[in-house]
Symmetry: C2
Subunit: 700 residues, 2 copies
């Protein structure tokens, strides 16, 4: 969807323009005029002849021309009628500032539906309602009541909160941060966050996309498009308020372990979106992405004129997991040849408290040339001889140089460095108020680069028996059953290439002993009933049975005890199963997020998942790399690989299991939640066995 007519209209009608100061209809008109808009403005108000010197029209029709853009400020109850006028006249783009729609309850929701219906039928694009408007500094367009026109820049901003956008604008203006476009999406009845992000993606003037979101309209489309756009433009988002998916009563492990934020974390990770926790952090990051090249790697060098801040930066670099560049011998020698003897020639390079601008310039030039350095952070504290302005100029000069490495500055202080900071801002060197903020920004850049250079995503498709699974699921729907039982769960797993334990159901103790004899000892007995989901809790599982006698005893005890505990349960017999021992138990799972689809889970089995919640999540479908990364992301990964002489297990086969499960839940959206638990894995080369599974389905 092109939003060009919102960003660069040739004429604008302001419906609800007012002569009364303080009214939104007045503020918007004045903002538009003061921004120096070069197209034509048509105030529409039947009760006025002129407003602020502009001729006023009683309605849209009387304008005579079709305005490129209509901004609507009249009360909510009149908006639908006005939209009909727009349709009649042939308007194609409308911003509805007016509040009082979906956000106020049922009646408002109805009004909003009406408005959208009219718009859709007439092919009108609508931003809002309940929004602040649209701003495009390069086109001198301020169709908003958010405040003064900000400086021109390369950051495209969208916000789901109008009030927050107003605060952001005010802060940006104070800090001279520039924007390409700003869009307040309000209730996003028509144009939504993704439409704006896509428009920013195509917009030549926008280099960085930033925004504040509370919800996402179409999860799948968002993931796919954001991932595509992230490849060439960084997307920096604040996201508040978790999805409610995690709060649902969950019957599987996976469901109960997925927190309310898990889905968004997976989405951001997949799509390469850089998450920001506060406005300040977002500004910090956006400046560097807007004005500096991306680093080739994560090695940071620090130049400082005081020890304390240098140590603080070094601590922060270590804390966030960046690497502290080891300077090349040549660099150290060159520094030593010109810096005073008391200076520190290693990273952090200390040019000493009496350093003038030339010493900074020399050190920065040398350090930038070091092949071991990817990024340079320059710290300055205002001391007696310090030259903040001249030093800033040196940074600006070298920043534009041929090395193409990012330079970040942290001039500490306020009054004493103010003019230096101005020079940095004008010269596109991002300036931070603390070493920690600069380091956090470098971390965001390094993470983006890592995401950027990951291998191309290729999802492997395994040959499977899809028809069989279809039949089982359909049968369950016909019988109105939502939980798939043990036998059929295993059939589903086998259809997707999993190996399950051998065994069959016995109805007498003798039969159980016979089956055990054929399987070979030890065996496991499990009570067999469609009504008992948590078998262990009622004593319905006995492991490690080593003889016919033990099997018979266990069978009879279950048949005697369980009906006493659960008199209403329909007991069909006891499953006698080979015992899978010797391997490690892991859990493979899936929980379907209502917005983003299947979230895959991996975790160590047993106590690890129960107590430590040592699990990792990823959005399906999984590539081989992503499946493996899920293992690596758990704390217990080392245990799987083998520690202290213990043999490790087959990592590849677990990753393959995750990919097969990912294929299954992607091909069957009816599967809502699913665990394979335990999935027993041995050393490389052995067969992994899916011992138990829980699958629940819903008609979609």
């Amino acid at each position: 969807m092109s939003l060009e007519s919102f960003f660069n209209p040739e004429s604008i009608a302001v419906v609800g323009a007012s002569r009364q100061k303080g009214k939104v209809g007045y503020e918007i008109l004045v903002n538009m005029i003061e921004a120096g808009y070069e197209g034509t403005i048509y105030p529409v108000n039947p009760k006025a002849d002129t407003i602020e010197g502009l001729k006023c029209y009683p309605d849209l029709k009387s304008i005579g021309n079709i305005p490129d853009l209509v901004v609507i400020i009249i009360p909510a109850k009149f908006v639908a009628a006005m939209m009909q006028q727009c349709a009649k006249v042939g308007v194609k783009s409308v911003i509805i500032i007016t509040a009082g729609f979906k956000e106020v309850g049922k009646e408002g929701r109805e009004l909003e539906k009406q408005v959208v219906n009219i718009a859709r039928q007439a092919g009108i694009k609508v931003i809002g309602p309940n929004c602040l408007g649209v701003i495009a500094p390069a086109n001198k367009l301020n169709a908003s009541f958010g405040g003064d026109l900000p400086a021109e820049g390369v950051i495209g901003y969208l916000s789901q909160s109008g009030a927050l956008l107003a605060a952001i604008l005010d802060m940006a203006n104070a800090g001279s941060i520039g924007f390409s476009k700003l869009v307040s999406i309000g209730n996003k009845a028509d144009v939504d966050e993704l439409d704006v992000i896509k428009a920013f993606g195509e917009d030549r003037d926008t280099k960085v996309i930033a925004g504040y979101l509370e919800s996402i309209t179409d999860g799948n489309a968002f993931v796919n498009q954001a991932e595509r756009i992230s490849h060439y433009k960084p997307i920096l988002l604040m996201k508040s308020g978790g999805t409610q998916a995690g709060a649902q009563a969950a019957s599987s492990h996976t469901g109960s372990l997925a927190g309310s934020e898990t889905a968004y974390e997976c989405v951001f990770e997949r799509a390469g979106i850089i998450r920001c926790d506060s406005i300040k952090e977002q500004f910090d990051y956006a400046q560097a992405f807007a004005d500096q090249p991306l680093p080739a790697g994560p090695s940071v060098a620090v130049i400082t004129n005081a020890g304390g801040p240098g140590i603080m930066a070094a601590d922060a670099i270590e804390r966030v997991g960046l690497s502290f560049a080891k300077l090349a011998d040549e660099t150290i020698q060159t520094l030593a040849s010109r810096l005073p003897a008391a200076a520190n020639f290693n990273n952090p390079v200390d040019v000493l408290g009496d350093a003038l601008a030339d010493r900074y310039e020399f050190a920065l030039d040398v350090v930038l040339g070091d092949p071991n350095v990817d990024i340079v952070l320059v710290l300055l504290t205002p001391q007696a001889m310090t030259e903040p302005v001249a030093t800033a100029k040196a940074l600006v000069k070298l920043g534009g140089g041929k090395r193409n490495k990012p330079i970040l500055a942290c001039f500490l202080g306020a009054e004493k460095v103010r003019d230096g900071v101005k020079v940095l801002r004008q010269g596109k060197i991002p300036q931070y108020d603390a070493p920690e903020s600069a380091v956090a920004t470098i971390k965001a850049m390094a993470d983006y680069v890592r995401w950027h250079t990951r291998p191309k995503r290729v999802v492997k498709l395994f040959p499977v028996n899809r028809r069989k699974v279809e039949n089982i699921i359909e049968r369950h729907f016909r019988q109105n059953v939502r939980e798939i039982g043990e036998t059929e769960s295993k059939e589903i797993l086998e259809a997707y290439g999993f190996v399950t334990p051998k065994g069959s159901v016995a109805t007498t103790a003798g039969q159980a002993a016979n089956i055990a004899q054929q399987l070979g000892f030890p065996v496991v007995l499990k009570i067999w009933s469609p009504d008992i989901l948590h078998k262990s809790d009622v004593g319905g599982v006995q492991v490690g049975l080593n003889s016919e006698k033990e099997v018979k005893d266990a069978f009879d005890l279950m048949m005697y005890r369980i009906p006493k505990k659960l008199p209403d349960a329909d007991i069909l017999g006891v499953l006698v199963q080979e015992m899978c021992s010797g391997g490690k138990e892991v859990i493979l799972g899936m929980n379907r997020d209502p917005h983003f689809g299947p979230l895959m889970m991996f975790g160590m089995g047993g106590i690890m998942v129960e107590v430590l919640k040592d699990v990792s999540f990823y959005l399906a479908p999984l590539t081989a790399e992503e499946a493996k990364q899920m293992l690596i992301n758990t704390r217990t990964y080392h245990m799987l690989k083998g520690v202290r002489g213990q043999e490790g297990v087959d990592i590849e086969i677990i990753a393959e299991g995750l990919q097969r499960l990912s294929q299954l839940v992607t091909e069957f959206p009816q599967i809502q939640e699913m665990d394979i638990n335990p999935y027993v894995v041995g050393p490389a080369g052995t067969t992994a066995i899916a011992v138990d599974a829980r699958i629940s389905v819903e008609q979609v």
Copy 2:
């Protein structure tokens, strides 16, 4: 140590005062005059008659009076001679601004020693050298070259980095943050961080102690005094650069698990010191501690005029582990009776975008009165009708009210809220630039209150056989052995009330079988040699031996195989020991920090400590509560308590073990590192067994 003569001197001699602009000797004199100092200033400079209109003296003696305070700015090589003059004249307090001492290497270190010796002999207190000076705004004293005199306030600040202090002063002046005193401690050759903290502790004008430290001179004294002072004044510290203790090659688990920051974390935790990660964070916290009462509990209510920031605050409150106050029914009804219907009457209370100051005032007054609310955070975004100044006035009015609950404000924006923020500052309502910063501050306050209200520390002393341990350790020193062997380690443990496994050493297979017979099966065999520390690595441990035959076989195999692997090891036989099974294995440990003494460690045994590093540390000596808290601080605590029907183990006996170990290592400073691993613990009421221990000692 009183520092009164530094903070409030009646006369000051400035040795090295200069007429030359830009020189430190000029800057300091001018700073002193411009601050409006009301005592007498004596510039000392043999080459000048007057400087800035003040009569100049050729030396200290010629002044005629004894100045209360001498500030020295002359080159390092002349400082010792000047100190001698000070001694002769009878000066008692000196600030040495001059650099070029310890920080520049060996020669400077010698110079510094000379200076300190002269001072100590003459009873002169020295601040510095290599420092910025001292500032006391209420006394109009600016004996520094840090910049303009800051506003008067209640924060006492000390800094080990002069450059950082200059930046902090500049930032504080820009933000109108006031101080009671500021001290740059420089090389802290005489007056150190603890002297200043103690002076601030006693200073009536100082309500909050804040500072930046890179090292601590006397660890034990620091912990004790800081803990004492924290009881009545909050101490907020930035600390950079970890202790090197963790980087030492460590032979014990505990040693290798203690990171470089572990000791400082333990110290801050024990002493109730609030750690700050950046200058901004420190300012954020300090303002609230300075100007607001402490909260009675951790329940936060939020009032906002926009949804977005309200959600952001709620997210942050949940993230940091504070509680989101549940408003009382009465509060909700009262709010509903006067706020517009579209407002939100639950927490976060949304007074809507068109809220004027009166609506904020009403809501704040009602919410403050709610017994479920401990702290109120007021958010404001500048919208069309918003009244930042009047709203700020309302906050100030209610802030001084009878409720005595802390109020924090977050007025978002810049220009549009500037005047409102000024009103807040003057009215002592702390203002934050983001909801997240305000929430982090509330968290710091709540943590301090929790520390403050913890039970009184009582360290239990167990009856032990101290003499026995003394003998063993002394014997080792005589033999020049630093690692205590298995038998004697167990004697030490038994002397401190631990139970160790039964067993004895066999020299033949037959003897081994006999011992096993007497102990009862199963047993463990361990190779017995002073030269083999890592028995398992050479096959020197065999567990779970169930018969005489198995014991004999294992014995002979060890005797055959191990000498082949380690031909030089002196093998004394094989230890036959009862096997402790059925319980859970934990590890109790100690690593002695060179500055702060014994750090106690607790962790789960085996793979948990190897792979997950699931351990907790605490400073010895431990109270019963602290020992128990160490268990709770591990992720695996739930596992100890019992999960999913598994019986838990005896928590109390583990805590007692930690206290006994704490007593041992406190009473024997010779013990450098020590692990009890595994310590096998069963259900409540059973005996816990210290199966193995590693103890290393050093003469002290």
